[in-house]
Amino acid sequence: MSARDAILNRVRNALKPGASEAERRRLVDERLTAAPNGVIPARGQLPEQERVALFCTMAQKIAATIERVGKADDVPKAVTQYLRAKNLPASVRMGADGRLAAMPWAKQRSLTVKSGPSDGDDEVGVSHALGGVAETGTVVMESGPANPTTINFLPEHHIVVVDAKDVAGDLEAVLERVRRAYGKGEMPRTLNLISGPSRSGDIEQKIILGAHGPRALHLIVVG
């Protein structure tokens, strides 16, 4: 008998289910199809403006920095200003995301934009989020041809652009959007939920920012 069958048989025999096999199958299929939500905390269930405000507050609480701009075209300037304020070289790494590509980067003359995945030598990476979660100040990043996952982790500073209209109250709402975008049961290869910059408390339980991922997470909220 294969290890697979041996394990599954042991599990089946141990469970001695009260319900019939057919009934259990029906329950499991139903659960997988309906994917019921459960308890959604009241905290994030707010009208749009307050929801975005909560997202910003929560993100700042976990040491992300926030800038709000009126429209997508304002993003490149905001990026340049961030680099200058932090004394960083005028160079960013970016994927081929269509929303980022449509922004007027050429107007920032001093800024070098490198495309493709990060090679580990980038000071600053820029990504576009699929959405945000107001309840916890989390940004949700999907991988794909236009969105390298390495940019989320290798640069020292990670700048994430998120549309205000994509900020949901709770994580379940963002996951529902993923289901709609990719099809039920399908996922992007990597979905990163990022809540603040990298940190570690492994030495004497003292929290220090910038463990192996970015030391700083800067969120630019559009709209």
Binding site: L8, L15, R24, F153, S198, I203, Q205, A211
Partner: protein, 478 residues
């Protein structure tokens, strides 16, 4: 790793006498409890979410065979490979085989208790493959040749001076004059030293906090980002996870996440929650070319359908040990195997046998704090009692304890005789304490009086005092 659980009492005595350890354990007592409480207070729905989390896992366990099949089908559909391992040895061999086929010389590892459980690092090293732990705490203890003393804070038994000494010893290519006094400097050095290791590794190995049947995804929850670099940079990603990590859907993950980080570190969310589904896809600019999941049983299926099934709800947050007076006193290494604290006291006898792990369920004051903070509402004290019963049934406790209990039972089942013996014995003991109220030493009770005094009984028995009380209150009523 060598199992020292049968020597638990010696381990505990050494731990109590270790000043460095005692200093470090102060950080557990000071930090975790307050942080968790604050996070819990900040979410009014916390207890409802605990109920929901328990329901989710109970449902998943009751249908584990079906969810495992659904999960496997999804992983395969996304181009991943699923390997089933009945034992730790099977799992080690499967991982080695994957590494060999990838021509691997070095592997990076994200923090994972399951690979500690199967002793993967020693096995890979013995077979010529270098494992590099990348979580800061895991990296530190790997340098020291130690094992984690806590399931989420592996180096919690150490102080910064010890870490500094290890870094100076191992990173001998760096300037001896460099400043490493503060944790910031130590973290910075570990970051710089480990960065190239991610790029040099041929295989990245992680555990999983959840396996999602709906999508075939594995989920890791971390703060440092090392787990992600481990799984996106090498060309092969191997996930090692035990079968009870299955949850039905993404929505269920979202529910349990709300109790996980709060219970563990007092965060609302850990910094990185990553859902991985299969290997790199056409057009992807990065990510692993191969994605493997090793599904490990190693004793879990024999817990199903028994009084220990509830333990399989455990999400490894560490809250039980963070709140345990025994863990606070002796730390994690004294428990002698991979899993310390109350969850370890229940899980260890299940996985390595009650003959080896039987001391652990005895190391409890039954104060109940572990159960009161467990996000999955696991009845830990009840299960420790079940282990004590099994230990007794199998005659594993020492003879004096067994005979003592037998003697007590003889009298307890004969109330008249019990009262008679007590009414003779208690005044005698009371008289022999010579008014000090306690004994510094007692024949046959050296194990107790070695560490503390034995309180001397009052001069009358409980029954005598009760009758007097009763008489007094009746008088007052009349």
């Amino acid at each position: 790793m060598e199992i020292t659980s049968p020597r638990f009492k010696d381990n505990a005595a050494h731990a109590l006498a270790d000043p460095q350890l005692q200093k470090a354990l102060g950080n557990v007592r000071a930090g975790f409890i307050d942080k968790r409480q604050k996070a819990v207070d900040g979410l009014p729905e916390f207890d409802l979410l605990r109920d929901r989390a328990r329901e989710i896992k109970d449902h998943a366990l009751a249908n584990l065979d079906l969810y495992l099949e659904a999960y496997e089908a999804k992983v395969k559909a996304t181009g991943g490979h699923v390997h089933w391992a009945e034992t730790a040895e099977d799992a080690r061999n499967i991982v080695l085989d994957i590494c060999r086929r990838a021509g691997a010389r070095a592997v990076t590892k994200g923090k994972s208790m399951i690979t500690e459980e199967i002793g993967l690092n020693d096995f890979l090293s013995a077979n010529g493959i270098k494992p590099v732990e990348t979580d800061l705490g895991e990296y530190i203890i790997q340098l020291r040749g130690e094992h984690p003393s806590h399931i989420i804070a592996p180096a919690v038994h150490l102080n910064k001076e010890q870490v500094e000494a290890d870094f100076r010893r191992v990173h001998d290519h760096l300037a001896p004059s460099r400043d490493l006094e503060e944790p910031e400097a130590l973290l910075g050095e570990a970051r710089r030293v480990l960065r190239p290791a991610y790029f040099d590794a041929d295989v990245g190995i992680t555990g999983a906090n959840f396996l999602v049947a709906e999508t075939g995804s594995s989920v890791i929850v971390t703060n440092e980002g090392n787990g992600d670099l481990t799984q996106i940079l090498p060309k092969v990603h191997v996930v090692v996870a035990s079968i009870e990590k299955i949850v039905p859907t993404l929505s269920d993950v979202a529910q349990i996440l709300r109790v996980l980080a709060r219970s563990a570190t007092g965060q609302e969310m850990s910094v990185y929650t990553t859902l991985s589904t299969g290997p790199r896809r056409p057009g992807d600019p990065d990510g692993p070319e191969e994605y493997h999941v090793v599904l490990l049983d190693n004793g879990r299926s024999s817990m199903l359908g028994t009084e220990f099934q509830d333990m399989l709800r455990c999400i490894r947050c560490g809250a039980c040990m963070n709140h345990c007076p025994v863990y606070h006193a002796i730390g994690g290494h004294a428990y002698g195997w991979v899993y310390p604290g109350p969850m370890g006291a229940v899980l260890t006898p299940s996985l390595i046998g009650v003959d080896k792990g039987g001391h652990l369920p005895n190391a409890s004051t039954f104060c109940g704090r572990c159960e009161s903070v467990c996000p999955m509402r696991i009845p830990l004290p009840k299960m420790m009692r079940s282990w004590r019963e099994r230990e007794f049934e199998r005659g594993l406790n020492p003879a004096p304890q067994r005979y003592g209990l037998g003697l007590w039972a003889f009298f307890a089942k004969r109330p008249r005789l019990y009262r008679l013996a007590a009414s003779i014995g208690i005044p005698v003991l009371s008289a022999f304490s010579f008014g000090k109220g306690a004994f510094g030493s007692l024949p046959l009770a050296g194990g107790w009086t070695k560490h503390r005094d034995m309180p001397a009984p009052e001069s009358r028995t409980f029954m005598q005092q009760w009758r007097e009380r009763d008489a007094v209150s009746k008088q007052a009523a009349a």
